[in-house]
């Protein structure tokens, strides 16, 4: 599904965000990306989404070379990937329902399909009662859940979730983890950046640990692995 070969990424010629990354994630995997603040987790996602380009190295998504993807094909790459952004990125002028429906409009889903799917994912993240609110009228955790709902609504083949439980209480966080596991069982590859030690430890999935832009650890059924 995703393969990186020798990828380096430096911001402004001095901040070394990722260095010599070699990794392969298979279709259907559930992977935790862990590591301290500033380790390069978000940068990793940005490279896959072609929001940033690597300084060197190759990145493949579904067999295609992302680094060589022509500009006009980028939207189609992104549609195939659901993303929970760390800063949510909700459209400020659209309400919760419209924000999610919008992601379906992009892929030209039918109005009927939209009317069916949107309430469904809203219910999955427990926000049915907030459908009509604008983003600035939501609590932090609610915004985060809207972002999750939008990411999964199109049944993407890859789900990148950047800190999807950072603003959630443990109970709600586990609800969300159930949703992600369910999405994963239906065949979607899940790549989740997180700092939530308990979740990583309990889930027993593959863990890739980044540190200073390098892969420090890559374990099947791993644990969060940092001391408190």
């Amino acid at each position: 599904m995703i393969e990186m070969q020798n990828v380096c990424k430096t911001y402004k010629k001095e901040v070394r965000a990722l260095f010599n990354i070699d990794i392969k994630i298979e279709k259907g995997e559930f992977v935790f990306l862990v590591g301290p603040s500033g380790a390069g987790k978000t940068t990793f996602s940005k490279l896959v989404l072609k929001e940033e380009n690597p300084d060197s190295g190759k990145i493949y998504f579904g067999g295609e070379d992302v680094t060589r993807l022509p500009r006009r094909k980028i939207p189609y790459l992104r549609r195939d990937i659901g993303v929970v952004f760390q800063d949510f990125r909700l459209l400020p002028n659209k309400n919760v329902y419209e924000n999610i429906a919008f992601a379906m409009n992009i892929v030209e889903a039918s109005a009927k399909e939209i009317r069916r799917r949107v309430p469904m994912v809203l219910a999955m993240v427990g926000l049915s009662s907030r459908a009509g609110n604008l983003p600035h009228e939501l609590s932090g955790g609610e915004k985060q859940r809207v972002s999750i709902a939008r990411a999964i609504v199109n049944n993407p083949s890859l789900l990148i979730a950047d800190e999807p439980t950072g603003n959630l209480d443990p109970e709600t966080a586990w609800e969300i983890m159930k949703v992600l596991r369910q999405v994963n069982r239906r065949g979607t590859t899940v790549l989740m950046s997180t700092h939530a030690k308990d979740i990583v430890d309990i889930m027993q999935k593959r863990v890739i640990a980044l540190e200073n832009g390098k892969i420090a650890r890559d374990e099947i059924k791993g644990a969060y692995g940092y001391e408190d």
Binding site: R72, P75, I106
Partner: protein, 298 residues
């Protein structure tokens, strides 16, 4: 792009005018204000131009004086020759008796002086009406070849000056209007650019969740066109009613005569309506395209 997407896109274009209504209002206000200025200038220039053209008509005549004692058939022969010249619209014969009478009338108060004359010293003449004042020199050149003509009189200097002034006004006016159209477009494009720049975050987010450039661009272009059109129609209404009242005021102030020098309210309306609609819509679209161009590169 499928039909349902099209509907969604058009829909988005309209609703976002409403959702961002503070900004929309400001854009529309700017568009309107700018076009009203353009309208004022157009009214001014077109009317001055029109007046110059009409005033000019009064000088579009040449008078040729015939040799004394010419037989009547020669006179009518000369008349036919003149009629055949290119650029001559019509001719009118003026006998020496008629000419004296005209002179007496024209002098008005002092006309009675001429009644003391011993004999009529005036010649017979033809008054020639021209197609246009610009052709005067050519016609004179042809007239000089005709036998039996004693003298040719036309308002050479006045004609020259008038031609120059008229074409000058036309050129200045046209240049002014063109410059204003460019400035107008510039202001409107700028306003819509700023309006949309304020939404770069929105545009960037759309890009990030996989919207194609056209999917983002189309609603914004429609939005720009809607804003431009609303502004254009408002300004047409303002300029139209303004001109309507100005026109009527002129009539009551300067007698009805004056109105023939002015472009009619209907003609003015039809001119600005088309022009402003095109500018408004075109410029709205252009503004949107320019504004979002660089935010699409993400």
């Amino acid at each position: 792009m499928k039909i349902k997407s099209l509907r969604y896109i058009v829909n988005q274009g309209f609703t976002s005018v409403w959702k961002n209504r503070t900004m929309s209002l400001a854009s529309v206000a700017s568009v309107t204000a700018t076009l009203v200025v353009l309208g004022l200038i157009i009214i001014l220039v077109l009317n001055i131009n029109n007046m110059a053209k009409l005033a000019q008509v009064q000088f579009e005549t040449i008078q040729v004086f015939l040799k004394d004692e010419l037989p009547l058939e020669d006179i009518s022969d000369i008349g036919k020759q003149i009629d055949d010249i290119d650029g001559v619209k019509s001719t009118m014969y003026e006998s020496k008796e008629k000419a004296l009478q005209n002179l007496i009338n024209r002098w008005g108060e002092q006309g009675h002086l001429l009644e003391y004359l011993e004999e009529n010293p005036l010649p017979n003449s033809y008054i020639i009406y021209l197609d246009s004042i610009e052709g005067a020199h050519g016609v004179v050149y042809e007239l000089e070849k005709i036998a039996g003509i004693d003298d040719i009189k036309y308002y050479k200097e006045i004609v020259d000056v008038l031609i120059r002034i008229a074409s000058f006004i036309r050129n200045i006016g046209l240049a002014l209007i063109l410059a204003l159209i460019v400035i107008t477009i510039f202001i409107i494009v700028n306003t819509i650019k700023i309006t949309l720049n304020a939404r770069r975050q929105e545009i960037t987010i759309m890009k990030h969740v996989g919207a194609t450039d056209w999917f983002i661009r189309c609603p914004l272009i429609i939005e720009g066109i809607v804003l431009g059109l609303i502004g254009a129609l408002l300004s047409v209404a303002i300029v139209h009613y303004g001109y309507y009242h100005f026109y009527n005021m002129m009539l009551t102030r300067f007698t009805v005569m004056f109105s023939i020098y002015m472009i009619s309210v209907e003609e003015m309306l039809s001119r600005i309506l088309i022009m402003f609609t095109i500018i408004g819509a075109g410029v709205g679209a252009l503004g949107s395209i320019l504004a979002i161009r660089r935010y699409l590169r993400v």
